[in-house]
Subunit: 241 residues, 2 copies
């Protein structure tokens, strides 16, 4: 079956013969903007049932109905990797969310650190961004984005079974070989532009779950560090092996 | 010596006791915008002599003179890695240039492929972007950005001693282990959004210098692929080891 060109996220179960209603915004986009109508094919995903090709069975101005006619891609969930990061400027935060979605993170957790510039984090905006990244890159999984919380609280409640890959900007030098890392649930922790405070660094270094790593001899922006750390983790422990 | 807060790129030799004249734009920035004056300290780099702390010895509206008082960072050149990429939308092209600079590429070569959307490439804009990325990330090296050229021409003139890591978007699956790659000069090749044409792919696969690799089971945007491929290369063969 040829892949449908238009791809939509729906919050509805998908399966053979399943009817899927559209909301007003989606009906407007599909029938008003894209000029599709009854009989058109669209790709649907909901973050859990893979991607399905669906046929438009009813098209109206503010509503519509589709029917799933076949699965076009199996569900691909990411490995159990979280990204914990300190939000930076708006565009770079959007970028981090996009890249974490593309590169395969299971969950995105923004944290407020002592040196975090941004006191505010729009969870709804970031979640929409993750959804858009999955939509555009033919992903079938959308990582949930949590509300921002203080790093100190996150660490107090931390499950020690989940290891933390602490990208310590103070360790500028050859990157530690990640091949020796233990498999299992992990989180990557990336600091804000100003780095972590001395108290935060001391606390992190004292935690059993934490492995500090360097990302090479150059200083990287936070958004670059996100891409590099996820890539190295995926290649050593994730589903890029 | 404390690191100076302001960091400028100058196209002038740097060394102990060396006088360095400022151009009108830099003098305006330093004395007009940043309100510095005689006696202030500034960090200078020129892409080849490391980073130097310099003291302002003359400050005027449209000119100024600095004198190098000590080296604050040694020159750090990247490994012999080129990035060959097909320019995409403006912001994403800026982003690729920025990331290639931060992650440590020696040279940036934009190419026109059969499916390249963008027929035009502003070399001066991209070069300024590379310089800005080095300035902001405390880099001492600025990769030269070439003018755009057709991929076919680049491949015809290719030196077979330089290997090509061909990030083939048609190979979606586990990434090949890059650890087995042969050391030496390399280039990373990233295609445009629509991928390479069948003729381009056939030609690349037939070249001895080419090693096709996959970047995991998800489809990545071109800018994400740039970050991931440079990271994997640096960790296997470059100066992140």
């Amino acid at each position: 079956m040829q892949r449908a060109k238009i791809r939509l996220y729906v919050d509805h179960p998908l399966g053979q013969g399943q009817d899927v209603p559209l909301d007003a915004a989606q009906a407007h986009y599909l029938f008003g903007v894209m000029r599709e109508g009854a009989g058109s094919h669209v790709a649907l995903f909901n973050g859990r049932d893979g991607e399905w090709t669906a046929e438009v069975t009813q098209a109206a101005k503010k509503r519509g109905m589709l029917c799933c006619v076949g699965q076009s891609a199996a569900q691909l969930d990411p490995p159990d990797l979280w990204l914990v990061f300190a939000p930076i400027k708006k565009e770079r935060t959007d970028f981090i969310v996009e890249k974490a979605t593309e590169l395969g993170c299971a969950k995105i957790l923004p944290v407020q650190t002592e040196f975090t510039n941004s006191g505010r984090f729009r969870q709804d905006r970031a979640q929409a961004h993750a959804l858009e990244a999955a939509e555009q890159c033919l992903g079938t999984y959308v990582p949930p984005v949590a509300d921002m919380q203080p790093l100190a609280k996150l660490l107090t409640d931390w499950d020690p079974a989940r290891k933390i890959l602490f990208c310590d900007e103070a360790l500028v030098g050859p990157a530690r070989t990640l091949g020796a890392l233990q498999p299992g649930p992990w989180a990557i922790l990336i600091g804000p532009e100003g780095g972590f405070s001395p108290a935060e660094r001391a606390r992190l270094h004292a935690m059993d779950a934490v492995t500090p790593v360097s990302l090479g001899p150059r200083i990287l922006r936070a958004d670059t560090a996100v891409c590099s750390a996820i890539t190295l983790w995926q290649a050593s422990l994730g589903d890029w092996r």
